[in-house]
Amino acid sequence: MSIWEYANPKKFMQTSAWALPWVAGLTLVTLIGGLVWGFFFTPDDYKQGSTVKIIYIHVPAAMMAINVWAMMLVTSLIWLIRRHHVSALAAKAAAPVGMVMTLIALITGAIWGQPMWGTWWEWDPRLTSFLILFLFYLGYIALWGAIDNPDTAADLTGVLCLVGSVFAILSRYAVNFWNQGLHQGASLSLDKEENVADVFWYPLVVSITGFVLLFLALVLIRTRTEIRARRLQALETRERMA
Protein backbone atom coordinates (compact mmCIF):
# COMPACT_ATOMS: atom_id res chain seq x y z
CA MET A 1 0.00 0.00 0.00
CA SER A 2 1.35 3.34 -0.93
CA ILE A 3 1.15 6.49 1.08
CA TRP A 4 -0.25 8.21 -1.99
CA GLU A 5 -3.45 6.31 -1.51
CA TYR A 6 -4.36 8.85 1.14
CA ALA A 7 -4.07 11.51 -1.52
CA ASN A 8 -7.30 10.16 -2.95
CA PRO A 9 -10.01 12.40 -1.51
CA LYS A 10 -12.51 9.64 -0.89
CA LYS A 11 -9.90 7.59 0.90
CA PHE A 12 -8.83 10.68 2.79
CA MET A 13 -12.39 11.40 3.86
CA GLN A 14 -12.82 7.84 5.13
CA THR A 15 -9.51 7.69 6.94
CA SER A 16 -9.81 11.14 8.43
CA ALA A 17 -13.34 10.45 9.61
CA TRP A 18 -12.00 7.44 11.45
CA ALA A 19 -8.95 9.22 12.84
CA LEU A 20 -10.55 12.50 13.82
CA PRO A 21 -12.23 11.45 17.11
CA TRP A 22 -8.97 9.89 18.31
CA VAL A 23 -6.88 12.90 17.39
CA ALA A 24 -9.42 15.27 18.91
CA GLY A 25 -9.60 13.25 22.12
CA LEU A 26 -5.83 13.05 22.46
CA THR A 27 -5.60 16.77 21.72
CA LEU A 28 -7.93 17.59 24.58
CA VAL A 29 -6.01 15.36 27.00
CA THR A 30 -2.51 16.53 26.12
CA LEU A 31 -3.26 20.19 25.54
CA ILE A 32 -5.29 20.65 28.71
CA GLY A 33 -2.89 18.34 30.55
CA GLY A 34 0.18 20.23 29.41
CA LEU A 35 -1.22 23.68 30.09
CA VAL A 36 -2.71 22.75 33.49
CA TRP A 37 0.50 21.06 34.50
CA GLY A 38 2.52 24.01 33.33
CA PHE A 39 0.27 26.63 34.87
CA PHE A 40 -0.53 25.06 38.24
CA PHE A 41 2.15 22.56 39.08
CA THR A 42 5.48 23.99 38.04
CA PRO A 43 7.76 26.11 40.21
CA ASP A 44 8.82 29.64 39.34
CA ASP A 45 12.17 30.23 37.79
CA TYR A 46 14.62 31.85 40.19
CA LYS A 47 15.42 34.56 37.69
CA GLN A 48 12.29 35.02 35.58
CA GLY A 49 9.77 34.40 38.34
CA SER A 50 6.35 33.18 37.31
CA THR A 51 6.74 34.46 33.75
CA VAL A 52 8.47 31.20 33.00
CA LYS A 53 4.99 29.68 32.83
CA ILE A 54 4.49 31.49 29.52
CA ILE A 55 7.01 29.05 28.07
CA TYR A 56 4.30 26.38 27.88
CA ILE A 57 2.41 28.36 25.28
CA HIS A 58 5.08 30.57 23.75
CA VAL A 59 7.49 27.85 22.75
CA PRO A 60 4.97 25.36 21.31
CA ALA A 61 3.24 28.14 19.40
CA ALA A 62 6.54 29.38 18.00
CA MET A 63 7.53 25.87 16.98
CA MET A 64 4.19 25.34 15.29
CA ALA A 65 4.40 28.71 13.53
CA ILE A 66 7.52 27.54 11.72
CA ASN A 67 6.58 23.90 11.31
CA VAL A 68 3.18 24.69 9.84
CA TRP A 69 4.87 26.77 7.17
CA ALA A 70 7.28 23.89 6.53
CA MET A 71 4.32 21.55 6.21
CA MET A 72 2.67 23.97 3.78
CA LEU A 73 5.88 24.01 1.76
CA VAL A 74 5.91 20.21 1.58
CA THR A 75 2.24 19.90 0.66
CA SER A 76 2.60 22.69 -1.91
CA LEU A 77 5.50 20.84 -3.50
CA ILE A 78 3.48 17.61 -3.54
CA TRP A 79 0.67 19.48 -5.26
CA LEU A 80 2.93 21.15 -7.78
CA ILE A 81 4.73 17.90 -8.62
CA ARG A 82 2.13 15.17 -8.23
CA ARG A 83 -1.08 17.22 -8.48
CA HIS A 84 -2.90 15.64 -5.56
CA HIS A 85 -5.77 17.91 -4.70
CA VAL A 86 -5.89 16.90 -1.07
CA SER A 87 -2.34 18.12 -0.71
CA ALA A 88 -3.15 21.59 -2.01
CA LEU A 89 -6.27 21.78 0.12
CA ALA A 90 -4.30 20.69 3.19
CA ALA A 91 -1.90 23.58 2.61
CA LYS A 92 -4.86 25.95 2.36
CA ALA A 93 -6.38 24.45 5.50
CA ALA A 94 -3.16 24.75 7.47
CA ALA A 95 -2.36 28.38 6.71
CA PRO A 96 -4.84 30.07 9.08
CA VAL A 97 -3.81 27.69 11.86
CA GLY A 98 -0.19 28.62 11.30
CA MET A 99 -1.10 32.29 11.28
CA VAL A 100 -2.87 32.03 14.62
CA MET A 101 0.11 30.15 16.05
CA THR A 102 2.41 32.92 14.83
CA LEU A 103 0.12 35.50 16.38
CA ILE A 104 0.14 33.63 19.70
CA ALA A 105 3.93 33.41 19.60
CA LEU A 106 4.12 37.16 18.90
CA ILE A 107 1.66 38.22 21.56
CA THR A 108 3.01 35.97 24.29
CA GLY A 109 6.51 37.00 23.27
CA ALA A 110 5.58 40.64 23.70
CA ILE A 111 3.85 40.02 27.02
CA TRP A 112 6.81 37.98 28.23
CA GLY A 113 9.22 40.57 27.00
CA GLN A 114 7.52 43.41 28.82
CA PRO A 115 8.66 42.47 32.37
CA MET A 116 11.94 40.92 31.13
CA TRP A 117 13.13 43.61 28.76
CA GLY A 118 11.04 46.48 30.08
CA THR A 119 9.29 47.10 26.80
CA TRP A 120 6.33 45.58 25.01
CA TRP A 121 8.02 45.37 21.72
CA GLU A 122 11.67 44.93 21.10
CA TRP A 123 13.03 44.61 17.58
CA ASP A 124 14.68 41.45 18.62
CA PRO A 125 15.66 39.26 15.63
CA ARG A 126 13.42 36.39 16.61
CA LEU A 127 10.34 38.48 17.32
CA THR A 128 10.99 40.43 14.14
CA SER A 129 11.33 37.23 12.15
CA PHE A 130 8.00 36.04 13.47
CA LEU A 131 6.45 39.33 12.50
CA ILE A 132 7.76 38.83 8.97
CA LEU A 133 6.52 35.24 8.99
CA PHE A 134 3.13 36.59 10.01
CA LEU A 135 3.17 38.86 6.95
CA PHE A 136 3.98 35.88 4.76
CA TYR A 137 1.02 33.99 6.21
CA LEU A 138 -1.21 37.02 5.58
CA GLY A 139 -0.14 37.27 1.96
CA TYR A 140 -0.53 33.54 1.39
CA ILE A 141 -4.03 33.46 2.83
CA ALA A 142 -5.03 36.62 0.98
CA LEU A 143 -3.88 35.11 -2.32
CA TRP A 144 -5.97 31.98 -1.71
CA GLY A 145 -8.95 34.19 -1.00
CA ALA A 146 -8.51 36.39 -4.05
CA ILE A 147 -8.58 33.74 -6.79
CA ASP A 148 -11.80 32.07 -7.84
CA ASN A 149 -10.54 29.12 -9.83
CA PRO A 150 -9.35 26.61 -7.21
CA ASP A 151 -6.67 25.00 -9.36
CA THR A 152 -5.23 28.36 -10.32
CA ALA A 153 -5.29 29.39 -6.68
CA ALA A 154 -3.56 26.17 -5.64
CA ASP A 155 -0.84 26.62 -8.26
CA LEU A 156 -0.18 30.28 -7.53
CA THR A 157 -0.17 29.90 -3.75
CA GLY A 158 2.13 26.91 -4.19
CA VAL A 159 4.60 29.02 -6.14
CA LEU A 160 4.26 31.83 -3.59
CA CYS A 161 4.92 29.38 -0.75
CA LEU A 162 8.09 28.19 -2.48
CA VAL A 163 9.47 31.64 -3.17
CA GLY A 164 8.24 32.88 0.20
CA SER A 165 10.08 30.10 2.03
CA VAL A 166 13.37 31.10 0.50
CA PHE A 167 12.81 34.74 1.36
CA ALA A 168 11.57 33.93 4.86
CA ILE A 169 14.86 32.15 5.54
CA LEU A 170 16.80 35.00 3.94
CA SER A 171 14.89 37.47 6.10
CA ARG A 172 15.75 35.45 9.19
CA TYR A 173 19.42 35.73 8.34
CA ALA A 174 19.14 39.38 7.38
CA VAL A 175 17.32 40.28 10.58
CA ASN A 176 19.95 38.48 12.63
CA PHE A 177 22.61 40.49 10.90
CA TRP A 178 20.70 43.70 11.39
CA ASN A 179 20.17 43.39 15.11
CA GLN A 180 21.86 40.95 17.43
CA GLY A 181 19.14 40.11 19.88
CA LEU A 182 18.12 39.75 23.47
CA HIS A 183 16.55 36.32 23.12
CA GLN A 184 18.09 33.45 24.93
CA GLY A 185 19.74 31.01 22.56
CA ALA A 186 18.19 27.83 21.34
CA SER A 187 17.63 26.40 24.77
CA LEU A 188 14.91 24.07 23.63
CA SER A 189 16.20 22.11 20.72
CA LEU A 190 15.66 18.46 21.51
CA ASP A 191 19.29 17.50 21.74
CA LYS A 192 19.95 20.20 24.27
CA GLU A 193 17.28 19.28 26.72
CA GLU A 194 19.67 19.48 29.62
CA ASN A 195 19.53 23.24 29.17
CA VAL A 196 16.10 23.26 30.73
CA ALA A 197 15.51 21.68 34.08
CA ASP A 198 13.32 18.59 34.07
CA VAL A 199 10.55 20.26 36.06
CA PHE A 200 10.07 22.65 33.16
CA TRP A 201 10.92 20.19 30.46
CA TYR A 202 8.28 17.46 30.98
CA PRO A 203 5.20 19.68 31.03
CA LEU A 204 6.67 21.51 28.05
CA VAL A 205 6.91 18.29 26.07
CA VAL A 206 3.29 17.47 26.92
CA SER A 207 2.24 20.95 25.90
CA ILE A 208 4.15 20.75 22.61
CA THR A 209 2.48 17.41 21.90
CA GLY A 210 -0.85 19.04 22.63
CA PHE A 211 -0.17 21.86 20.17
CA VAL A 212 0.93 19.41 17.48
CA LEU A 213 -2.19 17.32 17.96
CA LEU A 214 -4.39 20.39 17.99
CA PHE A 215 -2.87 21.45 14.70
CA LEU A 216 -3.42 17.97 13.30
CA ALA A 217 -7.06 17.89 14.40
CA LEU A 218 -7.74 21.35 13.01
CA VAL A 219 -6.07 20.59 9.69
CA LEU A 220 -8.03 17.36 9.35
CA ILE A 221 -11.32 19.15 9.97
CA ARG A 222 -10.41 22.07 7.73
CA THR A 223 -9.16 19.86 4.91
CA ARG A 224 -12.40 17.88 5.09
CA THR A 225 -14.27 21.16 4.88
CA GLU A 226 -12.20 22.29 1.89
CA ILE A 227 -12.83 19.00 0.07
CA ARG A 228 -16.56 19.35 0.67
CA ALA A 229 -16.50 22.98 -0.43
CA ARG A 230 -14.70 21.92 -3.57
CA ARG A 231 -17.29 19.27 -4.34
CA LEU A 232 -20.03 21.77 -3.65
CA GLN A 233 -18.46 24.22 -6.09
CA ALA A 234 -18.17 21.51 -8.74
CA LEU A 235 -21.80 20.50 -8.34
CA GLU A 236 -22.99 24.08 -8.52
CA THR A 237 -20.96 24.78 -11.63
CA ARG A 238 -22.24 21.64 -13.29
CA GLU A 239 -25.81 22.56 -12.44
CA ARG A 240 -25.33 26.00 -13.92
CA MET A 241 -23.87 24.57 -17.11
CA ALA A 242 -26.51 21.88 -17.60
Partner: protein
Protein backbone atom coordinates in the same frame (compact mmCIF):
# COMPACT_ATOMS: atom_id res chain seq x y z
CA UNK B 1 13.53 40.44 -26.82
CA UNK B 2 15.14 43.77 -27.57
CA UNK B 3 12.01 44.64 -29.52
CA UNK B 4 9.92 43.93 -26.42
CA UNK B 5 12.15 46.09 -24.25
CA UNK B 6 12.04 48.87 -26.82
CA UNK B 7 8.26 48.61 -27.05
CA UNK B 8 7.78 48.69 -23.27
CA UNK B 9 10.06 51.69 -22.94
CA UNK B 10 8.29 53.47 -25.80
CA UNK B 11 4.95 52.77 -24.14
CA UNK B 12 6.23 54.09 -20.82
CA UNK B 13 7.41 57.28 -22.46
CA UNK B 14 4.23 57.85 -24.47
CA UNK B 15 1.85 56.98 -21.67
CA UNK B 16 3.47 59.90 -19.87
CA UNK B 17 4.83 59.73 -16.38
CA UNK B 18 6.57 56.45 -16.99
CA UNK B 19 9.89 57.86 -15.92
CA UNK B 20 8.70 60.83 -13.95
CA UNK B 21 6.06 59.36 -11.70
CA UNK B 22 8.27 57.21 -9.50
CA UNK B 23 10.74 60.03 -9.21
CA UNK B 24 8.04 62.53 -8.25
CA UNK B 25 6.76 60.15 -5.62
CA UNK B 26 10.28 59.75 -4.26
CA UNK B 27 10.62 63.53 -4.08
CA UNK B 28 7.32 63.83 -2.21
CA UNK B 29 8.36 61.22 0.35
CA UNK B 30 11.66 62.98 0.92
CA UNK B 31 9.88 66.33 1.23
CA UNK B 32 7.33 65.04 3.69
CA UNK B 33 9.75 63.29 6.02
CA UNK B 34 11.16 66.47 7.62
CA UNK B 35 7.57 67.65 8.26
CA UNK B 36 7.03 64.41 10.15
CA UNK B 37 10.24 64.18 12.13
CA UNK B 38 11.30 67.80 12.41
CA UNK B 39 13.92 69.79 10.51
CA UNK B 40 16.97 69.06 12.67
CA UNK B 41 19.89 68.14 10.45
CA UNK B 42 21.29 65.60 12.87
CA UNK B 43 18.11 63.55 13.07
CA UNK B 44 17.61 63.72 9.32
CA UNK B 45 21.16 62.66 8.58
CA UNK B 46 20.77 59.68 10.88
CA UNK B 47 17.56 58.40 9.30
CA UNK B 48 18.42 59.46 5.73
CA UNK B 49 19.65 56.03 4.52
CA UNK B 50 16.51 54.34 5.78
CA UNK B 51 14.18 56.99 4.41
CA UNK B 52 15.83 56.98 1.02
CA UNK B 53 15.67 53.21 0.81
CA UNK B 54 12.06 53.13 1.95
CA UNK B 55 11.18 55.84 -0.56
CA UNK B 56 12.84 53.85 -3.35
CA UNK B 57 10.96 50.77 -2.28
CA UNK B 58 7.60 52.52 -2.23
CA UNK B 59 8.24 54.31 -5.52
CA UNK B 60 9.05 50.95 -7.05
CA UNK B 61 5.88 49.42 -5.60
CA UNK B 62 3.79 52.19 -7.08
CA UNK B 63 4.08 51.07 -10.69
CA UNK B 64 4.19 47.30 -10.20
CA UNK B 65 0.57 46.57 -10.96
CA UNK B 66 0.96 48.03 -14.44
CA UNK B 67 3.71 45.61 -15.44
CA UNK B 68 1.35 42.97 -16.78
CA UNK B 69 -2.11 44.43 -16.29
CA UNK B 70 -2.20 46.42 -19.54
CA UNK B 71 -0.83 43.55 -21.61
CA UNK B 72 -3.33 41.23 -19.96
CA UNK B 73 -6.29 43.48 -20.71
CA UNK B 74 -5.56 44.10 -24.37
CA UNK B 75 -4.67 40.47 -25.06
CA UNK B 76 -0.96 41.06 -25.73
CA UNK B 77 0.00 38.72 -22.93
CA UNK B 78 -1.78 35.79 -24.60
CA UNK B 79 0.02 36.61 -27.80
CA UNK B 80 3.38 36.99 -26.09
CA UNK B 81 2.88 33.65 -24.36
CA UNK B 82 2.39 31.97 -27.75
CA UNK B 83 5.24 33.91 -29.37
CA UNK B 84 8.66 32.36 -29.92
CA UNK B 85 10.16 34.20 -26.93
CA UNK B 86 10.32 32.03 -23.80
CA UNK B 87 8.01 33.41 -21.13
CA UNK B 88 10.95 33.55 -18.73
CA UNK B 89 12.52 35.97 -21.17
CA UNK B 90 9.34 38.03 -21.35
CA UNK B 91 9.13 38.45 -17.57
CA UNK B 92 12.83 39.29 -17.36
CA UNK B 93 12.40 41.96 -20.03
CA UNK B 94 9.33 43.28 -18.21
CA UNK B 95 11.37 43.53 -15.02
CA UNK B 96 14.18 45.23 -16.90
CA UNK B 97 11.78 47.76 -18.41
CA UNK B 98 10.32 48.42 -14.97
CA UNK B 99 13.80 48.92 -13.54
CA UNK B 100 14.83 51.29 -16.31
CA UNK B 101 11.71 53.40 -15.82
CA UNK B 102 11.72 53.46 -12.00
CA UNK B 103 14.90 51.99 -10.48
CA UNK B 104 17.44 53.66 -12.71
CA UNK B 105 16.08 57.23 -12.31
CA UNK B 106 16.02 56.68 -8.56
CA UNK B 107 19.64 55.58 -8.54
CA UNK B 108 20.57 58.63 -10.56
CA UNK B 109 18.54 61.06 -8.47
CA UNK B 110 19.18 59.60 -5.03
CA UNK B 111 22.28 61.74 -4.29
CA UNK B 112 20.20 64.88 -4.88
CA UNK B 113 17.60 63.67 -2.43
CA UNK B 114 20.44 62.75 -0.11
CA UNK B 115 21.38 66.42 0.04
CA UNK B 116 17.85 67.31 1.11
CA UNK B 117 18.16 64.88 4.00
CA UNK B 118 21.67 66.02 5.09
CA UNK B 119 23.23 62.70 4.13
CA UNK B 120 26.87 62.66 5.16
CA UNK B 121 29.90 62.58 2.86
CA UNK B 122 30.63 58.90 2.28
CA UNK B 123 26.92 58.18 2.26
CA UNK B 124 26.42 59.47 -1.26
CA UNK B 125 28.66 56.85 -2.76
CA UNK B 126 27.20 54.03 -0.70
CA UNK B 127 23.64 55.17 -1.28
CA UNK B 128 24.09 55.16 -5.03
CA UNK B 129 25.96 51.87 -4.95
CA UNK B 130 23.41 50.15 -2.73
CA UNK B 131 20.45 51.37 -4.79
CA UNK B 132 22.15 50.37 -8.01
CA UNK B 133 22.76 46.90 -6.60
CA UNK B 134 19.45 46.47 -4.83
CA UNK B 135 16.76 47.99 -7.02
CA UNK B 136 17.04 45.33 -9.77
CA UNK B 137 15.99 42.77 -7.16
CA UNK B 138 13.04 44.99 -6.24
CA UNK B 139 11.90 45.10 -9.85
CA UNK B 140 12.28 41.36 -10.38
CA UNK B 141 10.43 40.50 -7.18
CA UNK B 142 7.76 43.02 -8.06
CA UNK B 143 7.37 41.35 -11.43
CA UNK B 144 6.82 38.08 -9.60
CA UNK B 145 4.09 39.67 -7.48
CA UNK B 146 2.53 41.21 -10.58
CA UNK B 147 2.61 37.82 -12.29
CA UNK B 148 0.77 36.24 -9.37
CA UNK B 149 -1.98 38.85 -9.38
CA UNK B 150 -2.28 39.48 -13.10
CA UNK B 151 -5.76 38.05 -13.54
CA UNK B 152 -7.27 39.74 -10.52
CA UNK B 153 -9.63 42.66 -10.75
CA UNK B 154 -8.32 44.58 -7.79
CA UNK B 155 -4.88 43.12 -7.27
CA UNK B 156 -3.14 46.34 -6.21
CA UNK B 157 -3.36 46.01 -2.45
CA UNK B 158 -2.82 42.26 -2.55
CA UNK B 159 0.23 42.84 -4.70
CA UNK B 160 1.77 45.06 -2.02
CA UNK B 161 0.97 42.50 0.65
CA UNK B 162 2.66 39.76 -1.35
CA UNK B 163 5.69 41.73 -2.44
CA UNK B 164 6.65 43.75 0.63
CA UNK B 165 7.70 40.77 2.79
CA UNK B 166 9.89 39.64 -0.10
CA UNK B 167 11.61 43.02 -0.02
CA UNK B 168 12.75 42.65 3.58
CA UNK B 169 16.22 41.16 2.99
CA UNK B 170 17.05 43.63 0.22
CA UNK B 171 15.88 46.56 2.33
CA UNK B 172 17.83 45.41 5.37
CA UNK B 173 21.10 44.88 3.56
CA UNK B 174 20.67 47.93 1.34
CA UNK B 175 20.00 50.36 4.17
CA UNK B 176 22.59 48.68 6.38
CA UNK B 177 25.19 49.11 3.67
CA UNK B 178 24.57 52.88 3.57
CA UNK B 179 24.51 53.14 7.35
CA UNK B 180 27.79 51.32 7.68
CA UNK B 181 29.28 53.31 4.83
CA UNK B 182 28.39 56.57 6.57
CA UNK B 183 29.74 55.33 9.89
CA UNK B 184 32.95 54.13 8.23
CA UNK B 185 32.34 50.55 9.37
CA UNK B 186 33.06 47.34 7.53
CA UNK B 187 30.85 47.17 4.44
CA UNK B 188 31.92 43.94 2.76
CA UNK B 189 29.29 41.66 4.30
CA UNK B 190 26.18 43.71 3.46
CA UNK B 191 27.67 44.54 0.07
CA UNK B 192 28.18 40.90 -0.79
CA UNK B 193 24.81 39.89 0.63
CA UNK B 194 23.02 42.60 -1.32
CA UNK B 195 24.81 41.67 -4.53
CA UNK B 196 24.21 37.98 -3.88
CA UNK B 197 20.49 38.44 -3.24
CA UNK B 198 20.11 40.52 -6.37
CA UNK B 199 22.07 38.07 -8.50
CA UNK B 200 20.15 35.04 -7.24
CA UNK B 201 16.83 36.85 -7.53
CA UNK B 202 17.47 37.99 -11.08
CA UNK B 203 18.63 34.50 -12.03
CA UNK B 204 15.90 32.41 -10.41
CA UNK B 205 12.72 34.37 -9.70
CA UNK B 206 11.84 34.86 -13.41
CA UNK B 207 11.18 31.12 -13.58
CA UNK B 208 8.61 31.46 -10.81
CA UNK B 209 7.11 34.53 -12.48
CA UNK B 210 6.81 32.74 -15.81
CA UNK B 211 5.18 29.76 -14.10
CA UNK B 212 2.68 32.11 -12.45
CA UNK B 213 1.86 33.76 -15.79
CA UNK B 214 1.31 30.38 -17.42
CA UNK B 215 -1.07 29.40 -14.65
CA UNK B 216 -2.92 32.68 -14.90
CA UNK B 217 -3.39 32.44 -18.66
CA UNK B 218 -4.63 28.85 -18.49
Amino acid sequence: MIALLARDLALAVRAGGGFGLGLAFFLIVVTLVPFGVGPEGGVLARIAPGILWLGALLACLLSLDRIFALDYEDGSLDLLATAPIPLEGVVTIKAAAHWITTGLPLVAAAPVFGILLHLEGAGFFWLTASLALGTPALSVLGTFGAALTVGLKRGGLLLSLLVLPLYVPTLIFGAELVRRGVAGMETTTPLLMLAGITAATVALVPFASAAAIRVNLR
